[in-house]
């Protein structure tokens, strides 16, 4: 009996310690997860390198990289250079995405609902409690909005998507606090974990509205609202309108690309776009080189995949700037 057990232990120990090919573990933002998933799968096919990305939320990603429990982290909230220095991290953007307001209202199809800046603030602050509230209805005269309470779908975790969305809300109405996990004042709130949880909630709950990354809208087929931009125009969420917005990002390698796109100018810009970032532990040069190789490959070969999923690839000039940044840090 004991002998049998010992043999089994020995065999399983051998099996267990068999070394496998290069493997990189990442964790964090769920906002870019669909495009990372596509990139890692393609990269694995092309090179055999296993990049394992677990979409948990930006808060989880930031914590994991500070604790050094992963090789890289994804975060939609850029960290300020001071904080990067404190925790000895490098940072660069990976791709640009956008946040849409997806809803579930009977009879209101994709892109039909128009939300003014005032209406968005009213919904998320709880000032507008029902869908037929005048602040919403006045821009939607041709729609039959129900007299039903609004359920606001938000994030249960600390989220970079929330950070970027509250950043936008704060530009409309400074009483909103910019935060990864604010206290929502709306009366009916339902929380979901990561972008997918929020999307699933909106899908399941009638008369709900929530903020999700655009690719989750595409995947789930949920309708999304036209949003009034800084110039006062109602803009449909489309890759073209995101690209117009992304032009206003100002990145520089000297500030570790710290920039929040926020609420950009321009008549045709969709107003809620955000870059998502990668965080690296400064002292781990070896794994950093492998991670950087993956992103370099993605910058070269992944633009089409990203665009198909509804993301905006970084402009060529930014990519070059990032490569210079890597070289400066000695990891490229």
């Amino acid at each position: 009996m004991l002998k049998k057990i010992l043999t089994v232990t020995a065999v399983s120990a051998i099996v267990a310690t068999g070394v496998s090919a290069t493997e990189l573990n990442g964790r964090g933002a769920s906002f870019p997860a669909p495009v990372y998933k596509a990139w890692t799968s393609a990269y694995n096919k092309a090179t055999g390198v296993k990049v394992n990305y677990t979409p948990t939320g930006s808060g989880d990603g930031i914590k994991s990289i500070i604790k050094r429990s992963v090789d890289f982290a994804g975060s939609d909230k850029p960290l300020k250079p001071k904080k990067l220095a404190k925790h000895k991290l490098y940072m660069f953007p990976a791709v640009v995405g956008s946040i849409v307001l997806a809803y579930n209202i009977d009879g209101v199809k994709d892109g039909e609902l128009k939300l003014s800046r005032e209406a968005i603030a009213a919904i998320f602050s709880g000032k507008a409690k029902d869908w037929d509230d005048p602040v919403i209805a006045k821009d939607n005269k041709d729609l039959k909005l129900p007299h039903a309470p609004i359920t606001v779908a938000v994030r249960a975790d600390k989220s970079g998507t929330t950070f970027n969305f509250t950043y936008f809300l704060n530009k409309i109405d400074s009483s909103f606090k910019v935060s990864k996990k604010p206290h929502w004042m709306a009366p009916k709130v339902v929380e979901g974990k990561s972008n997918s949880g929020v999307t699933a909630n909106i899908k399941q709950i009638k008369n709900s509205i929530g903020y999700i990354e655009y690719s989750y809208k595409l995947e789930s087929g949920l309708p999304a609202a036209q949003v009034q931009n800084r110039a006062g125009k109602f803009i449909k969420p489309t890759v073209a309108s995101f690209q117009d917005a992304a032009k206003y990002a100002k990145w520089s390698k000297d500030s570790d690309f710290y920039a929040v796109i926020g609420d950009p100018d321009g008549n045709t810009s969709y107003p809620i776009v955000a870059a998502t970032f990668i965080l690296l532990p400064a002292e781990k040069a070896d794994t950093n080189k492998e991670v950087v190789k993956f992103f370099d490959w993605a910058y070269k070969n992944g633009d089409k995949t990203a665009a198909d999923l509804g993301y905006v690839p970084l402009p060529a000039s930014t990519k070059d700037e990032i490569r210079k940044y890597w070289k400066e840090k000695g990891i490229f």
Partner: protein, 271 residues
């Protein structure tokens, strides 16, 4: 007279209804699993890893962790059970261990996950299969202790006495006679314990975490079927949810097969 018969009837009907409610839920849950599982299951799922939309690596990973946990927990739990039944003469220590082991058996599994996060993930600095193994071992150990304790108590005294009469030393009697006599019951206990831990999720969430690829390296994040179900279930797209159902179906079928096998072995013995 009439009244007491009426009360009797009401109570009996109520208890029958309770049993029906219990059975309804069983068939409802199993039924949905069957319908959803059979609709989503496909041979390709077993040949591809999560990264390509399959569950091969998840099944392998989950079973490797549960298997190694078994390999650690069984000898340890068996020995502890042997101490309780054969060596302790029911002293105070045995009483405490016996009861605390039962208490540990019902400890919240999420707390075990948090504990292993502290002693493993926080110490080595990353998630890893070993963390999952440690957590599952802790979940399994008290079950094995309690099974061994119970099974050895069923072995008739006369067998041990016969062994002593033949001049066998104590450890030989335990290994060669007592354990042999309790073999079937112990095997059942191990299978039931395995079936229980292989379906655990909470102890793995922040210990082994998950891996999209097949790996045998227990020092890296390890693929887990249950953690994947937890992640996939809240995804909004049909593909992920279908995969979650397929994974749930496979998990339940495997768990029930192991569980029934365990029961079947004992039943045959008693015939």
């Amino acid at each position: 007279m009439e009244k007491r018969l009426l009360i009797n009837k009401i109570i009996l009907i109520a208890s029958t209804i309770s049993a029906l409610i219990g059975l309804t839920f069983l068939f409802w849950i199993l039924g949905t699993l069957m319908v959803k599982g059979l609709a989503t299951i496909h041979w390709n799922l077993f040949t591809k890893d999560l990264v390509q939309g399959g569950i091969r690596n998840l099944i392998i990973g989950q079973f490797i962790m549960a298997f190694i946990a078994t390999v650690i927990a069984v000898p340890l739990g068996l020995m502890a059970g042997i101490y309780l039944r054969e060596y302790s003469y029911n002293n105070k220590l045995a009483m405490i261990v016996r009861n605390l082991s039962d208490v540990m058996m019902s400890a919240p599994s999420i707390v075990v996950g948090v504990f292993v996060y502290a002693i493993y993930v926080d110490k080595v600095g990353h998630f890893g299969g070993w963390g999952g193994v440690i957590a599952l071992t802790i979940m399994m150990l008290p079950i094995i202790v309690s099974t061994t304790d119970n099974m050895l108590s069923l072995v008739p005294k006369e067998l041990r006495e016969a062994g002593i009469a033949l001049g066998g030393s104590k450890h030989k009697i335990i290994l060669q006679i007592v354990l042999k006599a309790a073999k079937v019951g112990l095997t059942t206990g191990v299978l039931l314990a395995f079936a229980r831990v292989v379906g655990e999720t909470a102890p793995l969430l922040f210990t082994s975490a998950n891996n999209q690829y097949l790996t045998f390296n227990l020092n890296s994040q390890f693929p887990s079927l249950t953690v994947s179900i937890y992640n996939l279930a809240t995804f909004p797209d049909k593909k992920s949810i279908a995969l979650a159902w397929a994974a749930s179906f496979v998990l339940t079928v495997l768990v029930l097969i192991i569980n029934l096998t365990g029961r079947y072995i004992t039943r045959n013995k008693h015939k």
